[in-house]
Symmetry: C2
Subunit: 96 residues, 2 copies
C-alpha cells in the first residue's frame, strides 16, 4: 500500500536540525522523496507500523508535525505532478 508522509520539523535549534535529518533518513529507508518534506512510501502494514513508531520516537510532538495519508493500492491514478523534481515510481518505473 502507498502511504504519503509529510512533516514539519522545527529547525530553530541544532536539536531540531538533527531531528529533521533523522526523519528524512528513516523515510528514505522505506520510500521515495518527492519533495523536501514529502515522501511516498510503498509499505505493507507491518512496515508502516515500524516506520510510524520510529518517526514518532524522533520528533518533538510539541513543535513538530507528522501526517500520514493512506493512498491505498490504486494510488497511481490519484497523484498529479507539475514542475521540477519529478518523483520516481517506488515500484521501479518513471512516473509520467
Amino acid at each position: 500500500m502507498m502511504v504519503l508522509i509529510t512533516y514539519d520539523v522545527s529547525t530553530m535549534d541544532t536539536d531540531g536540525q538533527r531531528r529533521l535529518r533523522q526523519v528524512a533518513k528513516q523515510c528514505e529507508n522505506y520510500g521515495q522523496r518527492v519533495q523536501n518534506s514529502v515522501f511516498e512510501c510503498l509499505v505493507d502494514p507491518q512496515q508502516f507500523k515500524e516506520l510510524q513508531l520510529q518517526l514518532q520516537k524522533i520528533v518533538a510532538p510539541e513543535t513538530d508535525s507528522l501526517r500520514f495519508y493512506h493512498l491505498g493500492s490504486k494510488w497511481k491514478g490519484k497523484v498529479e505532478h507539475y514542475g521540477s523534481k519529478k518523483g520516481y515510481d517506488p515500484e521501479g518505473f518513471l512516473m509520467i
Copy 2:
C-alpha cells in the same frame, strides 16, 4: 472531494519568496493549511481545476514543484496526524 496539495518553491531569490507567498495565498482560498507547505482542500472538480491552473501560473516549473493527491470523499479515514499544529476539519469540525 478532498485534494491534498504539497509544494516546494525555490526561495533562493525574492521572486521565489513572492511565488511561495502567492501559492500559499491561493491554497488558503480553497482549503486548510495543515503544515508549512501542505494544504487539504475540499473542492468540487471545477474548483480544483481553477486552483490547479492558478497554481501552475504562479510557480516556476524549472525550479518549483506542485503535487496533487486526490483523496476522494472518504478521506477522513485515510489521514493520521502526530504532533503539533493539528489540522482542522475543512468541513467545520475539529479532527480527532
